[in-house]
């Protein structure tokens, strides 16, 4: 993997003994990191391990309390992102920093514009952007408005922004968190292109398979400190995960139990926008996985079941009751709960406190008093939830925005499970969360399943789907395949089914469309 091991050039960027303290928290202590040109250097660690702080220091957004930063062997101080950009360091943000109302070109040249007689020289800017995008194979139309672009294209715009400024070091902050598998492959292709041009890539991730697949060198951060650094070729997954969490990891596939209870969620030929004739059944004590490449109607299916999206045909039964014409509230009362795919947009009121978020839609409140919110009871209930799920938070009175992604997601899962639902819709329940939180969420979903909960799991992470589900249906262009028991599936076969390369298995039970 590392062809330049014989004659290593000096590191392009080096961090030595970096320390950073916030009031009450040590974010980084004694972190060492050396990145060479033509190298993809992965920085891995749990969420909250201090990766983000480290990268903010590298990008000049934060000042280290101790340690030094070397560029080409010389100590530098980066006081702002502008300094970092001038020094050839660029950041590809996880949450894109793009103005949707502006064009790709405007987003790219912003802050580094060419001007002629004081006026913007769009033509030369466009030429420069085209040049960069052709050299690195990043295909984007400079005159498109960003709001019309998909996620993968937006990421390419972010990369263009950095390259346009002549960056030699590119920091990628969890770049795959927002991408679908196909786009991840395209991204990895782009990264290889950058490496081939002699640039240095810092790749932050907590997904081990991706790190092992794409990087040349790995540095592990745990509890704010760098605890290991080695060539990817020398790494093995178990050792790596032990280093990351400082202990053993629970594997996704552990116990499995057949369903066989009463069917509590039944869809018969349900139609909605982008959903054609969805037929499925989920029984008590069973997890039904819905696999599929993103954008094949999964989002719409979940929204149609929740009653957020209009249904144009078919029927929906929850716990044996006809629910097709009920609103969301009526369906929830029948025992439906949902972990939506986008926790920021759909699950949490970020500026509101934890207890307020935990009480959203809760029937507990109503049971006590019809009109008044019993704050003490709400706080206590939230406190139990926080303790039960190991949510790391100073109190239940901080805003939800203050939590890390993993802890926010645990709060959502806890809230939805707390209402003792009969049916749970879980859309990407562990997307963008660290391995620790992922393990907790998996564990809770399994526990609830064993207690008789019916779970409809929509996922993009095939390991998660295969590890949790009892049966899997594949969604392709709005259609659901018949269910396949998970024992008959492999990642490869599922992948073929998701792209339509394998004909659907014949299953007489689901043959009524």
């Amino acid at each position: 993997m590392s062809p330049h091991a014989v004659h290593e050039p000096p590191p392009l960027v080096e961090l030595r003994g970096i320390g950073k303290r916030y009031p009450g928290v040590v974010a980084n202590r004694d972190v060492n990191l050396a990145v060479h040109p033509g190298q993809i250097h992965a920085v891995v660690g749990e969420n909250g391990a201090g990766k983000s702080t480290l990268m903010r220091i590298l990008y000049g957004e934060e000042q280290p309390d101790e340690g030094e930063l070397l560029l080409d062997g010389e100590t530098v101080r980066l006081r702002s992102p502008a300094d970092a950009i001038a020094a050839g360091i660029g950041m590809v943000h996880q949450h894109f920093m793009l103005a949707e109302n502006l064009t790709v070109l405007e987003n790219v040249i912003l802050g580094a514009e060419n001007t002629r007689w004081g006026l913007l020289d769009r033509r030369s800017g466009r030429r420069a952007v085209r040049e960069v995008s052709e050299r690195y194979g990043l295909d984007v139309d400079p005159d498109a408005t960003v709001e019309h672009l998909g996620v993968g294209q937006r990421q390419r715009v972010e990369i263009l922004k950095v390259l346009y400024r002549g960056a030699r070091v590119l920091i990628f902050d969890e770049p795959t968190a927002v991408l679908v598998p196909g786009e991840v492959r395209a991204l990895f292709g782009s990264l290889a292109g950058l490496r081939a041009q002699g640039l240095a890539v810092v790749f932050i991730s907590h997904k081990l398979d991706e790190v092992l697949a794409v990087s040349d060198h790995i540095t592990v951060i745990r509890a704010g400190a760098s605890v290991g650094s080695f060539a990817t070729a020398d790494a093995d997954p178990r050792r790596l995960s032990r280093l990351i969490v400082g202990g053993e990891l629970p594997a996704p596939a552990a116990r499995r139990r057949g369903g066989g209870g009463e069917v509590v969620l039944r869809l018969r030929g349900l139609r909605a926008e982008a959903v054609a004739d969805a037929t499925l059944e989920v029984a008590q004590g069973e997890i039904l996985g819905i696999a599929g490449v993103q954008g094949n109607g999964q989002t719409e299916l979940i929204e149609a079941i929740m009653g957020i999206r209009a249904v144009s045909g078919g029927s929906l039964h929850i716990a044996g009751r006809e629910a097709t014409h009920l609103g969301t509230r009526g369906r929830r009362r029948l025992g439906l709960a949902c972990i939506p795919e986008d926790r920021h947009r759909q699950a949490l009121a970020l500026p509101a406190t934890l207890w307020e978020n935990a009480m959203l839609g809760s029937e507990d409140l109503r049971r006590r008093s019809r009109w008044r919110v019993d704050r003490k009871a709400a706080r206590d209930a939230t406190g139990r939830l926080v303790a039960g799920f190991g949510i790391r938070s100073p109190s239940v009175d901080v805003p939800a925005a203050a939590l890390s992604g993993g802890n926010q997601q645990k709060l959502v899962v806890g809230r939805e499970l707390g209402g003792r639902p009969k049916v749970l819709l879980a859309a990407h329940p562990t997307r963008g969360v660290d391995v620790g939180a992922q393990a907790v969420i998996w564990e809770r979903l399994r526990d609830a399943r064993d207690d008789g909960l019916a779970v409809l799991l929509v996922g993009a992470d095939l390991d998660e789907l295969l590890g949790l589900s009892d049966r899997v249906q594949v969604m392709l262009r709005g259609r659901l395949s018949p269910a396949v028991p998970v024992g008959e599936l492999t990642v490869e076969r599922l992948g073929r089914m998701m792209t339509g390369a394998e004909p659907e298995p014949v299953d007489s039970a689901a043959e009524n469309r």
Binding site: E61, A82, I85, M97, E106, L110, G111, L119, V140, D143
Partner: protein, 416 residues
């Protein structure tokens, strides 16, 4: 992917659309004028008055546009205009009319500075601060009025002495009779030909006896387009309103950009105020602004946060106002005009949005029925015409409005 060669500018949708709309409106107006014989509808007199009434509204709208494009909602335009009137009247009395114009701008900039310090530096809610500026301005104006004008001839606690001198006017030579040349458009207007004399009357209204102040205002609109859309400064300023964190991460000084924007906004509002005391009248009177700052904001929204649209909105307000001032009976004809326009819109939209078309045709029918069964419009309704027109337009175009994404959101570094 290499994009095809861009279309020439005169064939791009954002040019073609408005041009077609203007032609359609002209056609409708001309038809209505011919049918009803209401010559005032497109007379150069009314159009000239439209222009005069539209200038302060348009400047106020431009003021809002500068501020909001950078992400700072400015509800204090009305207040900044008030400061502009009082400062303009004082300097106009003491040093002459152009000094008054300048002083109005300075006063507006100072009020803008207050808004900027409070909202940008201290991150106070922009709406709250804007409202506070309006309230504060009324008191400050009264105070300044008493201090500056007490005991002067013709002045009092709520009124200033007259401004010295006036701002001259200009007419375009040959076409509109400037410098003793023939007034071709004027003659065309007198012929009462269908469409041609309407176009002539409207053009003459824009070109005949135009105040130099108006010329400055038009130049400011064009300058704003140039600065905001064709300079690096403008791109950075707009980026501060579209995604301040992104702009910051690229080394754009977001707070400084917002300061510039709010200061320019204040200056334009002050200029709008000084127009009221130098051109629209020659004294400061309390309550003189009469809500024009807010109407300016409505014009800006109407114009989808774009200069050309803002000007269009200001002209619409100005037209309704001018018609009502000069010939209030003509407002009755506006109902017929509305009916015709609605029908035209219904025909245009028939293919793409049949349901909306149906509603518009129905509304047009209602308007026609109202026109047929009544003789005059109550004066209150006459005064409400511009607001009704705006409401109608906002309701029908609200889905396509595209305000800057971060208007009203204070920006703090490192904040989520």
């Amino acid at each position: 992917m290499r994009a095809a060669t861009p279309r020439p500018w005169w064939r791009r949708p954002h040019v073609v659309g408005p041009v077609l709309a203007v032609v359609a409106v002209l056609l409708a107006v001309s038809m209505v004028r011919t049918l009803t014989g209401t010559e005032a509808l497109t007379g150069s007199g009314v159009v000239g008055a439209t222009l005069r009434l539209a200038v302060p509204i348009g400047l106020a709208g431009l003021s809002g546009l500068w501020s909001e494009r950078a992400g700072v909602a400015n509800l204090g335009i009305e207040g900044m205009m008030i400061i502009g009137t009082v400062c303009g009247a004082w300097a106009g009395y003491a040093y002459g009319v152009w000094a008054g114009v300048l002083a109005g701008v300075v006063g507006g900039v100072l009020a803008g500075l207050l808004h900027a310090v409070v909202t940008v530096t201290f991150g106070v809610d922009q709406v709250v601060c804007g409202v506070a500026v309006n309230i504060l301005a009324v008191g400050v104006a009264r105070f300044l009025c008493v201090v500056a004008f007490n005991g002067l001839p013709g002045a009092g606690a709520t009124q200033s002495p007259p401004v010295r001198g006036t701002i001259g006017t200009i007419s375009l030579p040959v076409l509109a009779g400037g410098w003793g040349t023939p007034d071709l458009l004027g003659r065309l207007e007198q012929t009462h030909w269908f469409l041609l004399s309407d176009a002539g009357g409207i053009l003459r209204g824009f070109l005949h006896d135009v105040s130099w102040f108006t010329v400055v205002a038009v130049a400011l609109v064009l300058g704003s387009v140039l600065v905001l859309w064709h300079t690096a400064f403008g791109l950075r300023l707009r980026a501060a309103g579209e995604h301040p964190a992104a702009a910051d991460s690229l080394g754009v000084p977001v707070q400084r950009m917002r300061y510039w924007a709010v200061l320019v906004s204040g200056g334009l509002a002050g200029l709008a105020g000084s127009y009221l005391v130098t051109v629209a009248s020659n004294v400061y009177r309390e309550g003189q602004t009469g809500g024009r700052g807010f109407i300016g904001l409505a014009a800006m929204i109407f114009g989808n946060w774009r200069p050309a649209g803002t000007v269009g909105g200001a002209l619409l307000f100005g037209y309704a106002d001018a018609l009502q001032l000069r010939q209030s009976t003509a407002v009755h004809v506006l109902i017929l005009l509305a009916a015709v326009l609605l029908w035209m819109a219904a025909i245009v939209g028939l293919r793409r949005r049949p349901r909306l078309s149906g509603v518009m045709a129905l509304l047009g029918m209602t308007a026609f029925a109202v026109f047929q069964t009544t003789d005059a419009v109550p004066t209150q309704l006459v005064y409400a015409t511009p607001y009704l027109a705006t409401l109608l337009v906002l309701v029908t175009t609200a889905q396509r409005l595209r305000m800057p994404a971060y208007v009203g959101v204070p920006y703090r570094r490192g904040g989520a």
